[in-house]
Symmetry: C2
Subunit: 220 residues, 2 copies
């Protein structure tokens, strides 16, 4: 069902000059490994996933995993870090195409929903999982970028609120919108099949009407 074969384009951390030919081909297999780990983490949870599970699901031997990564918590960190980087980057790109606050809000929602649809496991691991043994600064780094991402939305909401005098406080509103975008996969597990664009638009409409008091709607 869920494809997720396409790599998380942006932050593959390759810093090499393009000329170098040999350059250690471990990158593609690392991608496979991360994708498999993300899927398993997403379904069984971080603590519920064993390294042997990941080995089995990725087709890489147990000890082989340690050739590509430093260990279990590094796997989680790498997944979360890449995902939030990709979200930040694609959001920034989407936002650069419009200027009016409501249009930016629509762009942000569409971007987040569509990315979540393309890489469900990665986004789920980013938002639901946290390493119990995470050493620390790596988790903090992810948390920092996460709040950066939240701030992007809050700033948009502030602008929307400023031009339409919305009655709902922005931090609260941003939490509600994130909750809607991260759902379903909870409670109802909506059986209505609706495509990504429609879902994003529905969330946007539902939210904007509630947030601004009923008046607004973006272009088109």
């Amino acid at each position: 069902m869920s494809d997720e074969s396409t790599p998380l384009t942006p932050p593959a951390e390759s810093g090499s000059v393009s000329g170098a030919p040999s350059e250690s081909q471990r990158a593609p297999k690392l991608e496979t490994l991360l994708a498999a780990a993300a899927t398993t983490f997403a379904t069984r949870g971080y603590s519920g996933t064993s390294m042997r599970d990941i080995a089995h699901d990725s087709g890489i031997s147990l000890s082989g995993i340690y050739y590509y990564t430093r260990g279990k918590s590094s796997l989680l960190y790498e997944i979360q870090s890449r995902t939030i980087d990709a979200l930040l980057a694609s959001a920034a790109q989407a936002l650069s195409t419009v200027t009016r606050p409501l249009d930016q809000l629509l762009q942000f929602v569409e971007n987040h929903v569509s990315y979540s649809n393309d890489h469900p496991a990665f986004v789920r691991v980013l938002s639901h999982e946290t390493a119990p043994d995470g050493t620390d600064e790596r988790r903090e780094a992810v948390e920092l970028k996460r709040s950066e991402y939240v701030k992007v939305l809050r700033d948009i909401l502030d602008r929307v609120r400023h031009e339409s005098s919305a009655p709902v406080p922005t931090p609260f509103a941003s939490d509600m919108l994130f909750a809607m975008m991260s759902g379903p996969r909870q409670w109802g597990v909506s059986d209505t099949e609706l495509n990504v664009g429609m879902a994003a638009r529905l969330i946007y409409d539902l939210f904007v009407r509630g947030f601004t008091g009923g008046a607004a709607a973006a272009r088109q």
Copy 2:
């Protein structure tokens, strides 16, 4: 911080005639055990929680736990089962006081939010955790009651929709509302301190305006 000492009133499964004096005093300690387990499950996750953690947090010895419960997955089942029972019961009672659809919706939201506020760990365990080794019918029983609870909301939404011709499909809308009520504890982790009643009202207003197209609001 979170108190949660008050027991889950409704379904303590005591079926004894009130006269019987001895009646095995294990009930209160079971309650303590379940509360401790719920808190630990909520913070560390089901798989991330060891029986030794629960023993430590509840003040009951590791082997003592097995005097009160059949094992780890039974603990989870008992927590989830009691919580959904309590939610169903208190929702039914709250709904019986009003008749107009929008008033019922407000009652449902207020009930759910306030219950979640009184027993955050229990509700979190109910909605976020699932037993990997759960044998089965017990998990199915919880799932059944959960969808019963969802149906209660959906029926209310259907009635609201019928009398105000809302443009959003009901299953989708119910997912969104549940998502809002179950958030925060994700993304923004809203630092605005707002009391329970206000939060419930904000969610209700935000949702109803978005759902009905801007017109409606309940009494008062």
